[in-house]
Symmetry: C2
Subunit: 364 residues, 2 copies
């Protein structure tokens, strides 16, 4: 299911997760990040790399975080501030820290509120890249809660019938705990594909698939094939999930607006009233299952549902049906054993940055 | 935008909204529903009919409600019961009433809790058809809150890579208030199209569009053209939003599972642990904007965003870009003036049922 975006086996170099985690932590610390924050940032990245969410792992993201700290756009020592709160809500300012470490703190607040009054809903402004949204949603699931996490900002998604991008890829993550079955964990962009995946596909010499982007006049490119240059600051014209109006692109578009509202309008983040290219904000929420009924019964019912979905009669040409979270669970088991497959070029980057930061390079 | 599913102008009979509302109320009352409940049920139906959500208006739904009351599957005098609650949550049993009237009461509870502690989240079991989910979400928006409403159940959606239906169409509604601009109001099935729309299209002699349904072996029908018999109890094989894995059907599928969890698992409704065909449950939530910051500032920012989206440069062949809630707003203005367009066959049904119930028939 996730294979399309993975480094081909014949060139991949397998790196032990603990080794990769350790060097990642040390890189964060060399950027001025404290030891506990570096642990958290590395944990979010390892979650992605272990789970096969390679778009949000070290290979695709770490270098941009390092350059963010180096250029001063990211604050290595942020003081998170609660701007406003009620028993079940909080509006948070992340003080320019990296979202990887800000979002878990926002989720900690949401979980604490959910323990007290049933739910906790937290909107976050002034925070950098979120990392894999599924990590933050899973924090709630691990506490027997339903977890949400979203992030909004930038201009990548073209509204239905539009010819210019107005919204970010605006992913939604949602997690709910199973009992013996792997938890349900959904994490996906509301564009037909994550922006990172286009970059990753193109880096691997693959062209775009039909339905991924709009042509220059806004019409959906349903032929595919082109290899786009989606470098930073170039104009991106990604189609919403659904791709065309006939297939339901207004649903991806509207869910994208919903994410903008929950993250940006609810946190009163700058730029969300003007659809600014540089706007960014997050949203997390936790609903305590215990507030609604018996936790064991809920998790038993979840198991029944999840097993039922996985047992769906498969369509012609396929052997299995999955649910969100199941492939990631299986990849995690495999990678904990065999290591994370990295592209040789990523290994080279680690070697270089370790040299620059005077860190012992021990990945290979 | 909604035109495809409307009765063609040359055969439509325009009926005044107040007249339609009045006869609808009287029909509900003849089914044993109290006057206040009948008002509420008619209000939900009029919202749909006024807004151009014809799939959820009188023409498509009222006859099934009447037969539900007649056959005893719907309780005309339900006693709503709070099974469990915390300061921000409630689990509700609808006592077999129609969802049109149960959901507004659940939303009243959510709004009251949001006024007290910032948010209110309510899961509802044992309740019939919801009506237009957007109505219930808009109740929160009208109180300067963010509103959610979802409903789950049945077997219509085929999971990605599957060859049998496991989930309902599982719509998500979400509303947030603007200031001078029409509020954002999204309401859509997580299948590529609402089940009702297939029925409506087929009744109007239109074939299926590519991406709406799966072939018998589960493969997505990307050709379209067939006119399906989606009568009650026939097997429906609708594709999730995204239609194919390549276009993102796993997103529609997973959002559908999310809706099942929030509605069914959180309300501990029967059948959700076994993916039962007869399961049904709802979910509503309200987040008070005031809990997060200044309401006027929020609505000003919303206006800026909504105006910005509507001002997006249009794609070739289109003159305007919309946001969810804007076309409905414009249809509402037109229909309040010119009446609701009904198919002559629907008028005939009203004439018959009025005769049967000994109600004065004054629609035309």
């Amino acid at each position: 299911m996730l294979k399309h975006f993975q480094v081909p086996d014949d060139i991949a170099i397998r790196v032990n997760v603990d080794t990769l985690r350790s060097v990642t932590e040390r890189i964060f610390m060399k950027c001025g990040v404290s030891e506990s924050e570096a642990y958290l940032g590395a944990d979010v990245l390892m979650f992605a790399d272990q789970s096969g969410i390679d778009t949000h792992g070290v290979s695709n993201m770490l270098r941009s975080y390092v350059s963010g700290y180096n250029s001063g756009t990211l604050n290595p020592d942020p003081r998170l501030q609660v701007i406003k709160e009620t028993p079940s809500t909080a509006t948070i300012d992340g003080d320019g820290g990296l979202g990887l470490m800000i979002a878990p703190k926002a989720m900690d607040i949401a979980i604490a509120k959910a323990k007290e009054v049933g739910t906790g809903v937290v909107a976050v402004r002034n925070s950098g890249h979120l990392g894999a949204a599924g990590y933050h949603a899973m924090m709630a699931a691990d506490q027997d809660m339903i977890g949400w996490c979203m992030t909004a900002g930038g201009k990548a998604m073209v509204p239905t019938f539009g010819a210019e991008p107005q919204l970010g890829t605006n992913p939604i993550a949602f997690a709910a705990p199973g009992n013996n079955e792997p938890s349900f964990m959904f994490d996906a962009a509301m564009t037909s594909i994550a922006g990172n995946k286009i970059g990753l596909a193109n880096r691997m010499g693959k062209g775009m698939s039909p339905g991924w982007v709009a042509n220059e006049d806004g019409t959906p490119d349903m032929d595919g094939g082109a290899v786009a240059d989606f470098a930073a600051n170039s104009v991106r014209m990604q189609l919403p999930t659904g791709s065309t109006r006939e297939l339901g692109s207004h649903k991806g578009y509207s869910l994208g607006v919903m994410v903008d509202i929950l993250c940006g309008q609810l946190s009163f983040a700058p730029g969300f009233g003007t659809l600014s290219r540089t706007r960014r904000a997050h949203f997390v929420a936790a609903y305590s299952v215990e507030a609604f009924g018996d936790v064991s019964e809920f998790k038993e019912n979840m198991d029944g549902m999840l097993k039922g979905l996985a047992a769906t009669k498969p369509m012609a040409g396929h052997e299995r049906v999955y649910y969100a979270g199941l492939p990631e669970h299986e990849v995690r088991i495999e990678r904990m054993k065999n290591g994370v497959p990295l592209h040789p070029e990523v290994i080279d980057w680690f070697r270089d940055i370790c040299g620059e930061f005077e860190i012992n390079f021990d990945l290979v």
